[in-house]
């Protein structure tokens, strides 16, 4: 097999998915940790947002890296999904699962939900086109008042509910994906197998609790303007 053929083989595509996925899991955790500063109040949160905006070129390098990872992940997933679908033209009358779970079986669907959510999320909080009412508000220090936009947006039960559902799908996706990454990259063997199998469910739980806590807190009025 030529070297180029390796990267388009079923294994090469899986490794591409795992590597890009690992980068995105890192981003999701970093993004969540940054956003949880909303619980520290307006000043801390706006200062954090201001810091990110002031990164300039670095911010665009990170964004282009993320876009590249998303594109690679979707390209590999599409090729593999079509191939896997074609590999069993006639299904079974009955095939029972012994090991696999709901997270693994719904990866494609939760992935599509997450993709749609990313589009909405960027339109909402990065571009300000989905709910523009408070997007350009400024705080008393003249910084963008991201805190007000955030809290008022999530006081709306439809917006908060959308984010909660999307983040539960994201958490379910990561629960299988993060464990799968280490198998695909060949690390989940021997003494590392058991601990690495726990990483997926742990990341899923952390993301589910962390990311849904923010819209729920705004919705319930725990965080207010």
């Amino acid at each position: 097999m030529a070297r180029s053929a390796v990267w388009t083989s079923t294994i090469g595509l899986k490794v591409a998915m795992a590597a890009s996925g690992l980068g995105m899991v890192g981003f999701v955790l970093f993004h969540m940790a940054g956003n949880l500063q909303v619980f520290a109040g307006r000043d801390v949160f706006n200062a954090y947002a201001h810091f990110l905006q002031s990164l300039g070129g670095l911010l665009w390098i990170a964004r282009l890296g993320l876009i590249g990872m998303v594109a690679l992940h979707i390209w590999a997933a599409t090729k593999l999904a079509l191939r896997n679908y074609a590999a069993r033209p006639q299904g079974y009358a009955s095939l029972k699962s012994r090991r696999t779970g709901v997270y693994a079986k719904t990866m494609l669907y939760t992935g599509i939900v997450v993709l749609a959510y990313i589009g909405y999320h960027i339109a909402h909080l990065t571009l300000g086109v989905a709910h523009p009412e408070y997007f350009n508000a400024l705080d008393e220090l003249g910084r963008k008042d991201v805190y007000t936009n955030f809290v008022i947006s999530f006081s709306n039960p439809i917006i908060a509910g959308t984010y909660v559902i999307a983040n539960v799908a994201l958490a379910a996706h990561l629960a299988h994906a993060t464990t799968s990454v280490f198998r695909s990259l060949g690390l989940s063997v021997g003494r590392f197998k058991q601990p690495l199998q726990m990483v997926g469910p742990a990341v899923g739980l952390i993301v589910a609790v962390g990311n849904t806590s923010m819209p729920i807190a705004c919705w319930l009025g725990v965080l207010s303007v």
């Binding site: 097999m1 009955s94 695909s184």
Partner: protein, 248 residues
């Protein structure tokens, strides 16, 4: 015990499930019970014009990998680490209806009834699942020292009988556990180490060429494998291919 086999029939005359009720002994193996069904079909050929059920079998002692069929939703039936031929009717209850289907995969087309063509596995094996050394008299057992841990691991992977249950159980009809077992058992031994890069590249290419799906880490293959081969084989296979790609 009275059981009804609901069996997939596929030949020029028929394509679908047919039911056959027989009086079985609980000590019969599953294949012996199918033999009883076939005797009934031959005896009552006017009632069963579709003829006897074609199914693969050979050694009937769990080592040849021929007896491939999905029984009640599980490749090789409901018992773990058991081939169909080693499954006994005592695993079922009196009055049970037992659903029997062939392996379902594009790479394993049905030839007739429960018999599928597993040439794809032979093609993968021929692509690199061997060691190119001159044969002759058996070498001295201690001429090439191999550590106990490595020998045990290689033996565990070498236990693969090529039955195809991994493909049958996989939601993607992937043959990765088979390829992994064959690649890793040779790669970790000094005899197989020399050709490891060419071997993994050729075998993965043959696997993909045959139309199997890819691994999405459901682990159904490990659960279905009658020889209990670990999915570690797949993780190590991935590393083998990446290693080969970097070195080529």
């Amino acid at each position: 015990m009275r059981v009804t086999f609901k069996v997939w029939r596929e030949n020029d005359e028929v394509r679908g499930f047919r039911s056959y009720a027989i009086e079985a002994n609980e000590h019969m193996s599953f294949l012996e019970a199918l033999d009883v069904v076939n005797e009934m079909i031959i005896r009552e050929h006017e009632k069963y014009p579709e003829g006897p059920i074609a199914f693969d079998h050979d050694c009937r002692e769990g080592i040849c990998g021929m007896c491939s069929m999905v029984i009640d939703g599980h490749p090789h039936g409901p018992r773990q680490a058991t081939t169909t031929c080693q499954l006994h009717m005592r695993s079922f209850g009196d009055g049970d209806e037992i659903l029997v289907e062939p392996w379902r995969a594009r790479a394993f087309p049905v030839i007739k009834d429960l018999v599928v063509d597993r040439t794809a596995f032979d093609t993968i094996q021929q692509a690199g699942g061997y060691v190119s050394v001159g044969t002759g008299a058996a070498p001295d057992a201690n001429a090439l020292p191999i550590g106990k841990t490595v020998a045990d691991e290689a033996f565990d992977y070498a236990a693969c009988i090529g039955c195809g249950a991994c493909v049958a159980a996989c939601p993607n009809a992937s043959g990765m556990l088979f390829v992994g077992a064959k690649v890793v058992h040779l790669a970790i031994l000094p005899q197989g180490n020399v050709e490891r890069s060419q071997r993994v590249s050729a075998m993965v290419a043959a696997h993909d060429e045959a139309g199997f799906g890819g691994c999405t880490n459901h682990e159904e293959c490990e659960a279905a494998c009658p020889k209990e081969i670990s999915v570690d084989a797949i993780a190590k296979l991935n590393v083998e291919l990446m290693r080969a790609a970097v070195r080529s």
